[in-house]
Amino acid sequence: MSSATPNAGGEHKLEQEDFEPRILVFCCNWCSYAGADLAGVSRLQMPPHFRVIRVMCSARVDPEFVLRAFQKGADGVLVAGCHPADCHYIGGNYRTRRRIALLRILLQQFGFDPGRLKLEWISAGEGERFQKTIVEFTDVVNELGPSPVRGGD
């Protein structure tokens, strides 16, 4: 149970001992990245398995990026954007919402559990929400186990 975080997620049920999930997080610069920064400033502890990639808008996240990430062995991908009606670029997040909904269907057809792809709205003021999202998503990915690309199911 070494990969479970001692201080944030509580009890984890792991499929596999020593599973270190690899989670990629695409954060839009204006809301979610700032939300992640706020979580840091507030010293909100969370599991250390996520890696943030900054994009200007969640709508920049080309479906190809997500598919490539899974191809390269990501166990989970989180796309985080501004809340509806709050997008810095007017309505990019609405497009993201549609794309992710379709992508989840596509992923399932490729044999991935659609739960491995998550979309979340996190504002610049929601450090706690960022933490909560990371904790919960890490739990979900832990539960799902390694991605099929890495030999899981």
Binding site: L24, Y33, I53, C57, A59, R68, H88
Partner: protein, 625 residues
């Protein structure tokens, strides 16, 4: 996937890893991360600094660039949101293009959130640095373009905010086109009867502003007009102004100020509105005052937050408490004979009683009176006098049913106390127990739950005034689409940042002021207008704007001209050229990247956030180490 062969010239990357005192160094083994960084491809120099952002840290970057002939820089420290500009300037000072810089966040996203797992935090920091270096290998220098600005402005809306903004810009010497949809200037305020804290009528109060606008030669007015179309971007807008009964006019402007105001909510179905003629909104009451059509009143009730704060709209409308206080004082003082002007008796009565407190006041030191008023002692004495059988000063019973009185600030608080001195009663209600307006034998009455006495009460009244919130203009959505600026959840225009950029839109070149961005009183609208005018004046006075080089780029050899990108761009920054191929209007592009993610041919990418860079970063994140 990006391959090394895509890199034309072998990059020379310098990596600077910050301890941030103990903020990073206390939870991440910075020495180990630095050692690891030096092993990454194309890294020719890696070092750690106690504080990279301090003078010696910055000098270290500059010297290292020269010494090791670095052509790109990775700083691994805090967040780009606060420190990127500083490091970019440092790079530029040492001759490295600012777009050849990459930020890696190992504080907010690592050391501060994994404080109890040093080993894992260190591993994560290594991964993050590897991602940053992978991205840095594909960076390209960018040129920021200068765009010429037409030194003229468009102001939409001829109320207090619009007139103030137009006048401000015109006085700076810029030609201003002022568009008003009604037949005359003056906006919301011109329909009001009286204003708070001034004895003048609303019309008298704003006439000097209107006169100044009329006299200002730099301002071209368009009444009965609207903005029909807007094309272009900051510095270069082509606007078509449609005027009733005449041909539309085309103007060129460099900046646009939105000051379209708001309207009061019509409280359909609330508190007996429309069921009884004497249930009116505060706006309608102002109109009745103007027409001198107020019936003789013995008892009048205000109901605050009528339709606001969780009823029809969610927000507090900010001005209604103060409007009710103003109106209550006016009624109590029978100002301008607003009540039953033709009835001499009422007039005489009111005249007498109003004199009295004024005479009393003279006897006392003014400062003492102010202090007393603030402490509310004056009110208590007045209460006691009334309890001993004294009639309310105006002969009118005035009750303000409220959830809580938002008489914010020094002046409003004083007015609030003044109203209480005038025997205006403030009775609190809770949102789950709203006052009920009904009729009994044809007479209006208000039923309410008295929170102190904990019992239901009924109060007969002659008139109920509903303090309804300001709501957004019904045509705000049309304008928001024309200008490509957002509306918030409540339909008001949404500024770029609620605290730091209150009169800018996220779209450069368009600014906002007055009640179209949310309820505001006259003074607030005027300050916002001055602020918006001075913000708009920056590009106009400079004569140019510098566009950030974060824009989309079309590969013409891949584009099939399907036009999807043109459709999805929220800024109209893409268009088809004469060959039917998409092209980017660089000055209008804000770099969100939506088009890039949409293009089915992979023909569009973003400068500084290219597919190649982002994929390299993602790939590096997932590498087995």
């Amino acid at each position: 996937m990006p391959e090394d062969t895509n890199i034309e010239k072998k990059p020379r990357i310098g990596v600077f890893i910050c301890h941030c005192g103990s903020n990073i160094g206390g939870f991440v083994d910075v020495k180990a991360v630095t050692e690891y960084a030096s092993t990454l491809p194309d890294v020719v120099y890696a070092t750690d600094n106690l504080y990279t952002c301090a003078e010696d840290g910055l000098n270290n970057i500059k010297e290292s660039i020269k010494e090791h002939n670095l052509d790109r820089v990775v700083v691994s420290s805090c967040t780009p949101r606060t420190h990127a500009p500083l490091f970019q300037r440092t790079c530029e000072a040492a001759g490295v293009n600012k777009y050849m810089f990459t930020f890696v966040n190992i504080r907010e996203h690592c050391s501060w959130v994994h404080m109890k797992e040093k080993e894992k935090a260190t591993q994560k920091a290594k991964d993050l640095v590897r991602m940053g270096v992978a991205r840095a290998r594909f960076l390209e220098p960018q040129e920021e373009t200068k765009i010429d600005v037409t030194p003229a402005a468009l102001v939409v809306g001829g109320g207090v905010a619009g007139m103030t903004a137009a006048l401000s810009l015109a006085n700076m010497g810029f030609p201003v086109h002022l568009v008003e949809k009604e037949k005359e200037l003056g906006g919301f305020v011109k329909n009001l009867h009286g204003l708070m804290m001034t004895k003048k009528s609303a019309n008298e109060a704003i006439q000097p502003l209107i006169d100044k606008v009329n006299a200002q030669k730099n301002i071209t007015q368009y009444v009965n007009s609207h903005v029909a179309t807007v094309e272009g971007f900051i510095g270069n807008y082509d606007v078509s102004i449609g005027t009733e009964g005449s041909e539309s006019k085309e103007v060129k402007v460099g900046a646009i100020i939105v000051a379209t105001g708001a309207i009061p909510l019509v409280p359909e179905g609330l508190f007996g509105y429309k069921e009884h003629p004497n249930v009116v909104t505060s706006m309608e009451f102002e109109e009745l005052c103007n027409k001198k059509e107020i019936p003789k009143l013995k008892s009048v009730a205000f109901i605050q937050c009528a339709g606001a704060r969780g009823q029809k709209v969610s927000y507090c409308s900010r001005i209604c408490c103060n409007v009710a206080i103003k109106t209550a004082i006016n009624i109590a003082e029978n100002r301008d004979n607003m009540l039953g002007a033709t009835e001499e008796k009422a007039e005489a009565e009111a005249g007498q009683v109003v004199e009295e407190p004024a005479a009393e006041m003279k006897a006392e030191d003014e400062g003492l009176e102010r202090r007393r008023r603030r402490r509310g002692r004056g009110r208590r004495e007045a209460d006691e006098a009334a309890d001993e059988g004294g009639a309310p000063s105006s002969g009118v019973e005035i009750t303000v049913f409220n959830r809580d009185v938002m008489a914010y600030g020094v002046e409003h608080e004083l007015e609030f106390n003044k109203a209480r001195e005038k025997r205006v009663k403030f009775i609190r209600y809770l949102p789950d127990n709203l006052p009920k307006v009904s009729t009994k034998d044809g007479k209006l009455e208000v039923g309410y739950f008295h929170e102190t006495l904990k019992m239901e009460r009924t109060m007969p009244v002659d008139m109920v005034i509903l303090s309804t919130p300001l709501v957004s203009q019904p045509d705000a959505a049309t304008l928001s689409q024309l200008l490509k600026v957002p509306l918030g959840q409540d339909g008001f225009f949404q500024e770029a940042h609620v605290k730091l950029r209150p009169v800018d839109f996220a779209t450069d070149g368009v600014y906002v002021c007055g009640t179209c961005r949310g309820p505001a009183d006259i003074a607030e609208a005027a300050s916002q207008a001055s602020a918006a005018a001075s913000r708009a004046a920056i590009p106009l006075a400079n004569g140019y704007v510098q566009a950030e080089a974060l824009t989309s780029r079309v590969d013409e050899t891949k584009c099939t001209g399907c036009g999807t990108c043109v459709e999805v761009c929220p800024y109209g920054a893409l268009r088809k050229n004469d060959d039917g191929i998409s092209e980017v209007i660089v000055a209008a592009c804000k770099g969100c990247g939506c088009c890039g993610a949409t293009c089915p041919e992979g023909a569009i990418t973003m400068t500084h956030y290219t597919d190649q860079q982002l994929l390299a970063e993602a790939k590096a994140a997932l590498e087995e180490v």
